[in-house]
């Protein structure tokens, strides 16, 4: 048997090594966004002040540029509206699926659910080309509305699946009690089910938001200037000859910070939601 002390030391060595691996790319990105052109080109510089003089010039440059502000607004608007709509439609579908029985021939609730989830398993490229042509027909290429509609469909399966899980954890006896007391279906849904499902709603919304924020293929296919999102903007910067790393790094920091903050917050919420509904 390995002595406890040796095992503990080994454990920490591995954990610290992996932490280092996780942090290195993030650290590199942040420091590069505070470097001058000279500090990037002149070799590999790790430590601010000791090895290079940090500057906020890249940040000033990107904030002054209209393209970044436009892309940031686009990404925020498209991700939040599409997440809201996916949540709205998803909640309606999920509540229906968890409380009523549907029959379309042999096609029943469980089959509908599997069908909805299977939409998410399909590689996005399968629909991307057709969507490109469809949006062209309706003159919706490179518009926020076009991308929002596509993202709603992209996120809907996840929203239905998660919300169905949350609804099925709410005891139906509560709703029956309200029905006996004379509450209408809408009242039951609005006053009893929704408040209980609140943690689930919040978590699902933000999850869809992050998926929309990070989505790349559809955005790359369907937008290029007016509705261009942040990932597509970064990709375009990088394609240029002699990419300006310091500038792109600053843009990338802007891109990654919101999802990281939101995910950490949602994880808390998801955990709380599961805990409170299980008790």
């Amino acid at each position: 048997m390995v002595p406890r002390k040796v095992r503990l030391t080994l454990t920490y060595i591995i954990l610290i090594f992996w932490s280092f691996m996780v942090l290195l790319p993030i650290y590199w990105l942040f420091t590069t966004s505070f470097k001058t052109r000279g500090a990037v080109i002149g070799g590999t510089k790790y430590l601010p002040w000791a090895q290079f003089k940090p500057t906020i010039q890249p940040w000033i440059n990107i904030i002054e540029e209209e393209t970044l502000v436009l892309s940031l607004t686009n990404t925020a608007v498209i991700a939040s509206i599409s997440a809201f709509l996916a949540l709205l439609f998803g909640t309606m579908a999920a509540y229906g699926l968890s409380r009523y029985k549907f029959h379309f021939g042999f096609f029943q609730n469980r089959d509908i659910m599997i069908w909805i989830i299977s939409q998410r398993m399909m590689p996005p490229i399968v629909t991307a080309i057709a969507l490109f042509i469809m949006l062209k027909w309706f003159n919706l290429l490179d518009t926020r509305i076009g991308l929002i509609m596509v993202y709603v469909a992209f996120n809907l399966p996840i929203a239905v699946w998660l919300m169905e899980n949350f609804f099925s954890q709410i005891p139906e006896t509560l709703e029956e009690a309200a029905r006996i007391d004379g509450a209408s279906r809408l009242q039951i849904f609005g006053r009893i089910v929704l408040p209980l499902a609140m943690p689930g709603l919040v978590a699902t919304f933000f999850l869809c938001f992050v998926f929309g924020w990070n989505q790349f293929l559809f955005a790359l296919t369907l937008t290029w200037r007016n509705a261009r999102t942040l990932p597509v903007l970064i990709a375009a910067q990088h394609a240029q000859a002699g990419p300006q790393w310091w500038r792109i790094s600053a843009m990338t920091v802007v891109t990654i910070v919101p999802p990281i903050i939101i995910s950490t917050y949602v994880r808390e919420h998801l955990v709380k939601g599961v805990v409170t509904t299980n008790k």
């Binding site: 454990t11 549907f102 790359l220 970064i234």
Partner: protein, 283 residues
């Protein structure tokens, strides 16, 4: 129900059927969009296209090697953090960070680290006296370093799922084994691992499905290069269909790829059921 079904019909089912139609058509964007039914020519061209089969073998390597590495690392980290040691919460939060980072940004971050002359990795290699590596510029090696990026990005997801799975194992099982004199390896081999199988299968399937769609990080890391040595089907379909605007052929590549993926996952599912490893739904 209705709005959700309508959205999916318009933006998923219709485009899917439309893609099938496109793959049998001739699409031209010159002088306005025109679509003419053409027959199986695109499919014949595809079957003889070495670039398509190259992309299929690339994605097969990417998914199999990538997901196996992610699973081994994720399981190891989850097991290490099962111990009640100081700093456990801190490590957990830190390890989960990569999941939420925009894939494209991950590609960009590693592009900088892999840079042949200014990158961190080569700087470390040369400072300890090892030869430097042209990470993304060597057609024989590039795919492995692309995979490494994906392992960095998605090991945390497997770690998260397995950590949840580990918490579901009743402590009493392990105590009983300990009383019976099982050492820590035996406890892992005969109790923890068998209990983790349903979660493991779910995690591996989930990651494989997601990994098969791979293109975002690749787009910025290598763009499919050098040559076509790292090109995946999604990227190939994108480049043909939406970069060169050979829309019909792009649709054919995408559809052919989807058929192969579907067959593969149906077979996998049959094998899993065959071995009686189901109970996936409630894993």
């Amino acid at each position: 129900m209705a709005p959700a079904v309508i959205v999916l019909l318009i933006f998923t089912v219709f485009p899917f059927l439309f893609t099938i139609f496109l793959s049998f058509s001739n699409v031209s964007l010159v002088g306005g969009l025109s679509i003419n039914f053409e027959g199986i020519q695109n499919w014949v061209r595809l079957l003889h296209d070495g670039r398509f089969w190259n992309s299929i073998s690339n994605i097969a390597l990417f998914v199999s090697l990538g997901v196996v590495l992610e699973y081994i690392l994720g399981l190891s980290l989850a097991m290490l953090l099962r111990q009640k040691i100081p700093g456990r919460e801190f490590f957990r939060i830190l390890f989960l960070m990569p999941i939420s980072i925009t894939p494209l940004a991950v590609g960009y971050m590693f592009r900088m680290l892999y840079h042949p002359s200014r990158g961190v990795f080569n700087n470390i290699l040369s400072s300890i006296g090892l030869p430097t590596i042209n990470f993304l510029g060597d057609p024989d090696l590039a795919m492995f370093f692309v995979i490494a990026t994906d392992v960095w990005h998605w090991t945390p997801l497997i770690f998260l799922l397995l950590t949840a799975g580990l918490q579901g194992i009743p402590e009493s099982y392990l105590e009983a084994a300990q009383i019976d004199g099982a050492n820590s390896w035996q406890r892992f081999r005969y109790i923890i691992f068998p209990q983790l199988i349903p979660t493991s299968i779910a995690a591996i399937l989930l990651r494989s499905i997601e990994a098969s769609k791979f293109m975002d990080k690749l787009y910025i890391l290598t763009g499919g290069g050098p040559g076509i040595s790292t090109e995946t089907p999604t990227l190939f379909a994108y480049l043909s269909g939406l970069n060169n605007f050979d829309l019909a052929y792009g649709a054919t590549i995408a559809m052919a790829f989807f058929v192969l993926v579907l067959v593969f996952f149906i077979l996998t599912f049959l094998v899993i059921t065959w071995f009686g490893l189901t109970k996936l739904g409630r894993a």
